[in-house]
C-alpha cells in the first residue's frame, strides 16, 4: 500500500530530461519570435515619435500650409496635407460606404445562396486582392486616357474606393450573416415587411460591426500612396477643391521630402508628416474600438 502511494507520487513529479528540455526550448523560441516581431515596430514608432514630435507639437504644424516655404526655409506646417488626406478619405468613404453596405444587404438579405451572389462575392474577393497601383492605373486609364478628364483629387479618391469597397462590403456581409435568422422571423411574425425588418432590426443589431468595418476600411486607404502619386499632383498650398489637379496629402508630403538632407528644416517635416499620418490612422482604429465597446455596454 505504502509503496504504491510512493510510486504514484514519483510518477506525478515534474518532467525531466528530454521532455523538460523540449518544453524550455520551445518556450524560449516563442518568446524570441515575439520579441523579433515587436522590435521593428517599436523601432519605427520610436524613430517617428523622436523625429516627428517636435514638428507635431507646434501650433503652426496644424494651422499653416507649406506655401512660401522651401525645404531650406523653416516655418509653415502640414495643414494642407492633413486637410487633403481627410478630404480624400471623406470622398472615398462617401462613395464606398453606400455601395459596400447596400451591396452587402443585397447579397445577404435578397440574393443569399443564389448563383448571382456567389459571382459577386467571388468578384469582391478578387477586388480585395488587387494591389493599389493596379487600382490607380485602372482609374488612370479610364478617367484620364479614355475620358480625358485630367488628374484630380476625385480620380485619386475613386482609386481608393476600389480598395476600400471590398473591405466594407466583406465586413458588412459577415456582420449581417451573424444576425440570427430567428430575429428576422420574429419581425416577420409581427407583420413587419422585409425592408422594414432590415432597416429596423437587422441593421441596428449589426450596427457596431458594420461601423467598425467602415472605420477600419477607411484607416486602410488613408495611408495608401500609389494612387495619389499617379492620379493627383503633390502641392504645398492649402487647396480645398476636389476637382483641382493638385492636392497636398500626408503620404505624398512624405514622398516629396524623402531625400531632403538631414540638416535642413524639410527633414523634420517628413517625420512630422509620418507621425501625423500614424496619429490619424490610430485615431480611426481607436474610434472603431470605441464603437464596438459602446454597443457591448448597451447589451448588459
Amino acid at each position: 500500500m505504502t509503496t504504491a502511494t510512493e510510486s504514484a507520487q514519483l510518477a506525478l513529479g515534474k518532467p525531466s530530461g528530454r521532455r523538460a528540455f523540449t518544453d524550455k526550448a520551445m518556450t524560449a523560441l516563442a518568446y524570441l519570435a515575439g520579441a523579433i516581431a515587436i522590435v521593428p515596430l517599436a523601432w519605427i514608432l520610436f524613430s517617428v515619435v523622436q523625429l516627428g514630435l517636435p514638428e507635431v507639437l507646434s501650433v503652426a504644424w496644424w494651422t499653416q500650409d507649406l506655401g512660401g516655404t522651401t525645404d531650406r526655409r523653416a516655418g509653415g506646417g502640414a495643414l494642407a496635407a492633413i486637410v487633403g488626406t481627410l478630404e480624400i478619405g471623406l470622398i472615398t468613404a462617401l462613395v464606398a460606404v453606400p455601395i459596400g453596405v447596400f451591396g452587402a444587404i443585397f447579397l445577404i438579405e435578397y440574393a443569399r445562396g443564389t448563383r448571382w451572389s456567389r459571382v459577386v462575392s467571388f468578384m469582391v474577393d478578387i477586388l480585395s486582392g488587387i494591389p493599389s497601383i493596379v487600382a490607380a492605373l485602372f482609374v488612370y486609364a479610364l478617367l484620364i486616357t479614355i475620358l480625358g478628364t485630367g488628374r484630380s483629387t476625385v480620380a485619386a479618391a475613386l482609386a481608393l474606393v476600389l480598395l476600400m469597397l471590398p473591405v466594407v462590403l466583406r465586413s458588412t456581409e459577415e456582420m449581417l450573416k451573424l444576425v440570427p435568422d430567428s430575429l428576422r422571423e420574429a419581425s416577420y411574425a409581427l407583420g413587419v415587411p422585409k425592408w422594414r425588418t432590415i432597416v429596423s432590426i437587422v441593421i441596428p443589431t449589426a450596427f457596431s460591426g458594420i461601423a467598425t468595418g467602415i472605420v477600419l476600411g477607411l484607416a486602410r486607404v488613408m495611408g495608401e500612396t500609389a494612387p495619389l502619386l499617379i492620379l493627383v499632383a503633390a502641392a504645398r498650398n492649402l487647396n480645398l477643391s476636389p476637382l483641382s489637379d493638385t492636392m497636398s496629402t500626408l503620404p505624398t508630403m512624405i514622398n516629396t521630402g524623402r531625400d531632403v538632407a538631414e540638416t535642413l528644416p524639410g527633414y523634420g517635416r517628413v517625420w512630422g508628416a509620418a507621425f501625423t499620418l500614424i496619429l490619424i490612422v490610430m485615431g480611426l482604429n481607436l474610434l472603431a474600438r470605441g464603437i464596438a465597446r459602446a454597443s457591448r455596454l448597451k447589451e448588459r
Binding site: 443569399r112 445562396g113 440570427p180 430567428s182 430575429l183 428576422r184 422571423e185 420574429a186 419581425s187 416577420y188 411574425a189 409581427l190 407583420g191 413587419v192 415587411p193 422594414r196 425588418t197 429596423s200 432590426i201 441596428p204 443589431t205 450596427f207 448597451k298 447589451e299 448588459r300
Partner: protein
C-alpha cells in the same frame, strides 16, 4: 378577436421534398389546440404554414387551402405581411431583439407598422406585459435590454411582443422546450389565460404539456424517415389521451414508440 382556422388538403414542400401530405383540420376560436408527434412528422411545418412563415425559407411552398374565418390565406392577392399581422407567432427559442429595450421590444410590432402615438404605445406595452404576467417583474426596468432577462422572462417578453399587435390567432412552436419547469409552468398558466381572447395553436414534444394545456390535440406521424408526415387524428384532448381511434396514436401516447 379569435378566429376559426380551416385547413383543407394541405401538402407542404421544401423544394422537391414533400414534407407533409393531405392535412385537413379545423381549429376552433378561443381554444388551445396542440400538435404532437415524433420529430420530423411535420407538426412545426404545418404550424408555420398557418401564418405563411413557411415560405420565408427559400424553395419552400405549399398546396391546399387554409381559411381564416372563410378567407383563404393563400388566395391570390393576399399579402403574407397582412396575414402575419392577424396570426402571431412565438418561437422555440426566446428571441427578443438585442438592439432594443424591454419597452421597445413590446412596442416594436406597433412601431414598425407606423404607430407613433406615445400614449397608445405606453398603454399597449403595459397591457401586453400584464397579459404575459411579466409586468410586475420588469415595470421598474423597461429601459433595460430585453436580452438581460432570464430565459423564461425572455419567452414571456416574446409572448407580450406577439400579443401587442392584437393578432386573431397565436401560434406557439415548442415555446417551453428551452425553459426550466418553473418557467414552463408560468407559460402554461399564461396559455390558459390567453385562450380567453385568442385562438392558440401550440406545437409541443411534451405530451403532459399537451394534456395539461390543450382542449384539442392533433397527432402527426410519418411512415418512415424521408416519407411525408401525415395527420393521424385530431380530437378532444381527453379522448386522444384516453381512447384514441388509431392504434399508432395510442402507441405514441403510451410511450411504445417515439
Amino acid at each position: 378577436m379569435a378566429k376559426r382556422i380551416e385547413v383543407v388538403d394541405l401538402d407542404v414542400f421544401y423544394g422537391s421534398f414533400k414534407a407533409v401530405e393531405g392535412v385537413s383540420l379545423t381549429v376552433e376560436p378561443r381554444t388551445v389546440t396542440s400538435f404532437i408527434g415524433p420529430s420530423g412528422c411535420g407538426k412545426s411545418t404545418v404550424l408555420r404554414t398557418l401564418n405563411r412563415m413557411h415560405e420565408v425559407i427559400p424553395g419552400a411552398y405549399c398546396q391546399g387551402s387554409i381559411g381564416l374565418d372563410g378567407v383563404d390565406l393563400y388566395g391570390a392577392g393576399v399579402d403574407p405581411v397582412a396575414v402575419r399581422r392577424l396570426v402571431g407567432m412565438v418561437f422555440q427559442r426566446p428571441n427578443p431583439f438585442p438592439s432594443m429595450s424591454i419597452y421597445d421590444n413590446v412596442a416594436s410590432g406597433l412601431r414598425l407598422n407606423g404607430v407613433k402615438n406615445k400614449k397608445v404605445l405606453d398603454e399597449t406595452v403595459e397591457r401586453s406585459l400584464r397579459s404575459a404576467n411579466l409586468w410586475n417583474e420588469v415595470k421598474d426596468r423597461l429601459g433595460k435590454a430585453g436580452t438581460g432577462l432570464s430565459g423564461g422572462q425572455q419567452q414571456r417578453l416574446c409572448i407580450a411582443r406577439a400579443i401587442a399587435v392584437q393578432p386573431e390567432v397565436l401560434l406557439m412552436d415548442e415555446p417551453c422546450s428551452a425553459l426550466d419547469p418553473i418557467s414552463t409552468l408560468a407559460i402554461e398558466d399564461l396559455i390558459q389565460e390567453l385562450k380567453e381572447s385568442y385562438t392558440v395553436v401550440i406545437v409541443t414534444h411534451n405530451m403532459q404539456q399537451a394534456a395539461r394545456v390543450s382542449d384539442r390535440t392533433a397527432f402527426f406521424n410519418l411512415a418512415a424517415q424521408g416519407e411525408p408526415g401525415k395527420l393521424i387524428e385530431i380530437g378532444a384532448t381527453e379522448k386522444i389521451f384516453s381512447n384514441p381511434d388509431e392504434k399508432s396514436t395510442e402507441d405514441y401516447i403510451t410511450g411504445r414508440f417515439g
